[in-house]
Symmetry: C2
Subunit: 255 residues, 2 copies
């Protein structure tokens, strides 16, 4: 069997610890190519760069060639990686390992998830992997999980336009209770702006916020993670609210 | 009845022609507040600004106060408008009128649609309105459509976490064939990169692409617009692929 070709990227930037672990873990099952943002691009959502030129530079880590850095977003990296860096389409795209959870409503802001979305739009199976801590330095268990799910995706494939969004609780492996299939929750950030005055007496605002858990069912991504379970959610990009189509047809919208 | 409060924004920037038409059209049914990006923010997807401070400046158009400009993304404008500029939550958020279509897979890159998404996440009914031309200067019919749908939303409300994504063909009003409820299509851009060399002999890339129509059913957004019909798609942000949950549960994911 041909060795699978795996493209990896992230939104924390090519020098982040999570992508190094991902590289090491996935090297065990495939030929891994790294194409990742040169600098951190968190919360960029599905931004793409259309008004500026993109550049690619080769980057070393641990004294040896590691991958390609792009002055763009995670979605740019996937597009450019597939079209200009790899000779053939990869068999799998994996984004991560992100520092911080990508669950519930917050996945629409996620650069990590959008990179995987870009891949499935281009017809390539993909997953996003996140460690649910903003400070942890131990990505080893998340790397094992990435390996295991990558192996299964390469074996089974994924439905059209569907990616797997994986969130790994940031606890020691022996404290992990389960690995479960979940649905996307409704949790979001309760946001506020911190209003300040700069040294020139001009007003500015910082976005701040705290996470709100708005679900109770144990099969929801946020709850799984809270109960120390690895959460795997199949995500797709048909955003149509089918349940509402009939009702909407009754509205008085014509002249 | 209390006059409805309507927040409007866009991704083409506060000085774009489309938002001026939207302002005029919606002023007929409500008190309109404009909070929009200072400069164009197209293709930013659902980006939010977390690493830079946001500033607000008051902007005039036609010699009179028009609205508030923000050095951020469309989603930032909605957050900041609701939390720091308006005293009370608005009754409706409308984003547009965008120059260019926001249909099919491409809506996930859309700053216009993401602004409306931000509103519905915050619990406020919303719609995004786009004119399907990149060059037109006549937003008058799209303004009428925005007015009519806004009136219906204010009357009926919208389901939780659902917005209306409206695309208006760029043809004279008498050539419009219908106003129909649609679902999101699968069309996307066939992308390519234009590889160039700069004056310092360094390589750079421009993203280019052409739209691909991948649907045939007349009830799809792309097709409606092609047939000179106004397309109204109800969009929501539960991205779970429910059809795939059962199958995924059969995978061998546990140690």
């Amino acid at each position: 069997m041909k060795t699978p070709s795996i493209l990896i990227t992230n939104d924390d930037g090519i020098y982040a610890p999570g992508i190094l672990q991902l590289y090491k873990s996935l090297n065990e099952i495939g030929l891994v190519t790294v194409v990742a943002p040169l600098i951190e691009k968190s919360a960029v959502g599905h931004a793409i760069t259309i008004s500026d030129p993109l550049r690619v530079i080769e980057v070393e880590r641990d004294g040896t060639f590691f991958g390609y850095a792009v002055n763009g977003t995670p979605a740019d990296c996937v597009k450019l990686g597939i079209q200009c860096i790899l000779k053939d389409k990869p068999d799998l795209v994996v984004s991560g390992i992100n520092l911080g959870p990508n669950t519930a409503t917050n996945i629409i802001y996620s650069g990590t998830v959008s990179a995987a979305a870009e891949a499935v739009i281009m017809g390539i199976p993909a997953m996003a992997v996140s460690l649910t801590s903003f400070t942890s330095k131990d990505f080893s268990y998340a790397g094992k999980i990435a390996y295991r799910i990558a192996r299964e995706i390469l074996k089974h494939g994924l439905p059209e336009e569907t990616l797997l969004n994986v969130n790994v609780p940031s606890v020691p492996e022996h404290e992990i209770n389960d690995i479960i299939i979940t649905r996307q929750g409704k949790g979001r950030y309760q946001e506020a702006f911190d209003k300040r005055t700069d040294p020139n007496n001009r007003t500015y605002y910082w976005l701040t916020g705290k996470r709100m858990m708005l679900d109770k069912d144990p099969d929801v991504d946020d709850l799984a993670v809270m109960h120390n379970k690895v959460s795997i959610t199949p995500i797709h990009y048909d955003l149509t609210n089918y349940d509402f189509l009939k009702e909407l047809n009754k509205w008085n919208l014509k002249p």
